[in-house]
């Protein structure tokens, strides 16, 4: 067994249960995320990874269990939900930038309106962050003028500028053209190196291996297996994990020599 570091707990999910009507999506799921930790969640489509992230943010209501951020419950419908959400940064698969605002306005909206910070200070920080992800020339562009990769980097900056305690990445490269995947993943890798606490859902196994401190394999709404990236990717213990990892490798049957 690898050793998992034990600094302060940021996020605590305990016995989470989520169902749409009769259809159970997440069942009795518990997971703890500690300061500075990068946890990658993998699993087949429909296993509940995205729903899990949405539950953490209370975008979905749950039918049991609870989510706590620094000890405070995250509850759909509670009065202080907006304040708690300010501490949870989320980046979506389809970017979800606001199309009627420039890149800079997209980033500044929540820090100014929701956190009540000073405009000049936020602008300075936003520009510095944009520069770090290579978008300093795009500050006054509208989202429609950006490529997919640029939009996603903007969305990451938008989340970062809120100074969140934890960042949630929901398959952020799934909608991107292959040549743009790298530019986005490098930004996330850079954030990991800075010691940000992150929960990453992804289909990019190479990337998962590179960035993860801890890998969680989700199947049918439960944690089926978890471990360090080396353990999980090189020596998966469960059959389901082995089968899942196999779907990423291809083999062709030995070719028959063509006979004339």
């Amino acid at each position: 067994m690898g050793v998992r570091p034990v600094p302060g707990i940021v996020l605590e999910i305990s016995h989470l249960h989520k169902a749409y009507g009769q259809n159970t999506v997440i069942e009795d799921l518990s997971l703890t995320v500690r300061e500075g930790e990068v946890i990658v969640i993998v699993g087949p489509s429909g296993c509940g990874k995205s729903t899990l992230l949405r539950c953490i943010n209370a975008l979905e209501s749950n039918q049991g269990g609870e989510v706590r951020l620094h000890g405070e419950p995250v509850l759909k419908g509670s009065k202080n939900l907006p304040e708690i959400r300010q501490k949870i940064g989320m980046v979506f698969q389809n970017y979800e930038l606001f199309p009627h605002m420039t890149v800079l306005d997209n980033i500044m909206l929540a820090p100014v309106k929701a956190q009540g910070r000073k405009k000049s200070e936020v602008r300075e920080e936003a520009l510095a962050l944009l520069k770090r992800v290579g978008l300093e020339t795009k500050a006054n562009s509208f989202p429609r003028q950006l490529s997919g990769g640029q939009k996603q980097r903007t969305a990451i900056v938008r989340a970062l500028c809120m100074h969140p305690d934890i960042l949630l990445f929901d398959e952020v490269t799934a909608a991107l053209d292959p040549e743009m995947v790298r530019e986005v993943l490098e930004v996330i890798l850079d954030l990991a190196n800075q010691g940000k606490t992150m929960l990453v859902v992804t289909h990019e196994m190479q990337f998962a291996r590179a960035i993860a401190d801890w890998v969680v394999f989700l199947d049918d709404g439960r944690i089926c297996e978890e471990g360090t990236p080396e353990e999980f990717f090189d020596h998966p213990k469960t059959e389901r994990a082995k089968k899942f990892l196999n779907t990423f490798t291809f083999e062709r049957k030995a070719r028959q020599p063509k006979t004339i």
Partner: protein, 219 residues
């Protein structure tokens, strides 16, 4: 063409056109407010009121303005609700237009989509902030063409005001035809004055639509 007849009667038409525009825009203004109110009630899922809005929209959309006006102007006074002709015109147009405006707003809000709402929530914006900074600006822009189309539609509908004895353009034309038999001139003036009212709005509508298409909202 009897040019003298035309020039003597232009002031009459001008007065009628002013009345048409005045009542038309008053009615449209109330219709916009009513439509916005209806959409807010539906969007916020306010229990009982939501039902009332649904009933109102069906009643308004499935009956002609002329009959709505007859009912308001001739029917309602019998149970003690009296309105003068102008107020009746405004009320009728607002009753008709409110549902059309509500639909325009609704399709705008729906086009913005739930994902934008979630994106705003996940940034920690409150419900009111989300509506104000994220949903409404986009919804207004998206529904602008439908909105202008409704304004044109409602302005055209004002032509039935003469039925409740408002001295609008139709009333004036019919009056002059009856009095002097100068049918061609009266009708020509009628058409010209309606064009003066409707063409600018219609042009504004096509400009808006083109600009919105280039703005490429959505992704």
């Amino acid at each position: 063409m009897d040019w003298e007849f035309i020039s003597t009667n232009i002031p009459l038409y001008r007065e009628a056109a002013v009345l048409t525009v005045k009542i038309g825009f008053a009615g449209i203004l109330v219709a916009i407010l009513l439509g916005l109110l209806c959409e807010i009630i539906v969007y916020c899922r306010i229990p009982v009121l939501r039902r009332a809005v649904a009933v109102y929209i069906e009643l308004s959309r499935n009956t002609p303005l002329l009959i709505q006006l007859f009912f308001i102007y001739y029917g309602l006074p019998k149970i003690g609700i009296r309105t003068d002709a102008q107020a009746c015109g405004v009320a009728g147009l607002a009753f008709l237009g409110g549902s059309y405006m509500a639909e325009a707003f609704r399709s705008g809000v729906e086009a913005v989509g739930a994902a934008q709402e979630e994106s705003a929530y996940s940034l920690g914006l409150s419900r009111m902030q989300t509506i104000r900074y994220v949903i409404l600006p986009q919804a207004f822009a998206i529904s602008a063409p439908a909105f202008v189309a409704n304004v044109i539609f409602l302005l055209k509908e004002t032509s039935v005001f003469s039925a409740v004895s408002l001295m609008d353009l139709m009333f004036t034309a019919k009056d002059l035809i009856g009095l002097y038999y100068n049918t061609t001139e009266s009708l020509a003036l009628l058409v010209v004055f309606y064009l003066l009212i409707l063409l600018p709005v219609s042009l504004l509508g096509s400009v808006l639509e083109r600009r919105l298409r280039y703005a490429g909202f959505g992704t």
